[in-house]
Symmetry: C2
Subunit: 217 residues, 2 copies
Amino acid sequence: MKVGVFGTGMVGTAIGTRLVELGHEVRMGSRQAGNEKAEQWAESAGDRASSGDFADAASFGEIAFNCTAGEGSVDAVTSARDGLAGKVLLDVANTLDFSDGAPPAIVATDRDSLAEQIQRAAPETRVVKTLNTVSNDVMVDPARIPGDHVIFVSGDDQAAKRQAVELLGEFGWPEDRVIDLGDISTARGTETYVGLWLRLMGALDSTQFNIGLFRSD
Amino acid sequence: MKVGVFGTGMVGTAIGTRLVELGHEVRMGSRQAGNEKAEQWAESAGDRASSGDFADAASFGEIAFNCTAGEGSVDAVTSARDGLAGKVLLDVANTLDFSDGAPPAIVATDRDSLAEQIQRAAPETRVVKTLNTVSNDVMVDPARIPGDHVIFVSGDDQAAKRQAVELLGEFGWPEDRVIDLGDISTARGTETYVGLWLRLMGALDSTQFNIGLFRSD
């Protein structure tokens, strides 16, 4: 499959590299073509890796990942809107405010989410929020953490979520550990959860953790 | 032990009843003495149960629980401030906005929490946020949900958190499933998590669940 990956940071690199390892062709997109980090990544990741601007990556991909920092995500998606039309966009980003230092504050509230902003900016794209609740290495290799911990999907389009679940399966997330929370507004739940994730990171002094779901029948 | 319980709703009733069952003496507090629900509860819960206003409940208790609806919690604590001075207050409340119907919106953000507002309103009281991440029946009987799911404590005072952990132990939460997130500001993490809890409730069509923590060593 051809995949566009927006973002040249740790998350974009982790997702892009994993997709290439899985046999997919990946174009990493950035604000401007010729981005040094994207070109270096494409060189190191091999024949199936290339780079371009966001619009290039969107047109190239049959599906796309938003791995940009949350504060730049709406601009990135807007600039690539035509290439994304009709496609599935997996949004894995979080909007973090580092203006008061670390740990950052979560910008998302229970009134709106980045995923909904992206969906509004690209109404012809089928946005699925997922993977934003774990660190980048766990996203693409959940077996790093032993046990039946879980991941979430939120989105308005069932077929798009189905496709997301398949890709998550390639990353190593069994289907019974993917929880469909509902429509795209449920991304408010996972985006604000990152506030708890950051405090757990502080208490555990580690990013190598995730939550699981326990229920009575 | 003598315990003051603020609030006459489902949470106050669950906590008060459980404390009486455990052998504690409980005074349920409400805005005005003579509250019908509080009096009915005290009658049905037996000799160790009584009722009064918030100030009565605070003066009575060696420790207190805030189980009021979040939007009334600061007023409740303020009216009982003298009786709470020097004591531990376990805040289990959430502030939910039902103005757009159910599910409610979470009022807490990553910029402030109800627990911090309560701590500011009663600076001589040692506030510990806990139990607000599960439904009221799970709060007082975690064995309803099988497995090693977890609960959190947040607070500025270590001795107060120690006392909270002991009370949680009486409720059935083993110490190794109580996660100390840090100071009272970490309550932002658990208060905003309730947004994810509400969406999980929707997806699972149940309140009988909780999260567990999985980590690599």
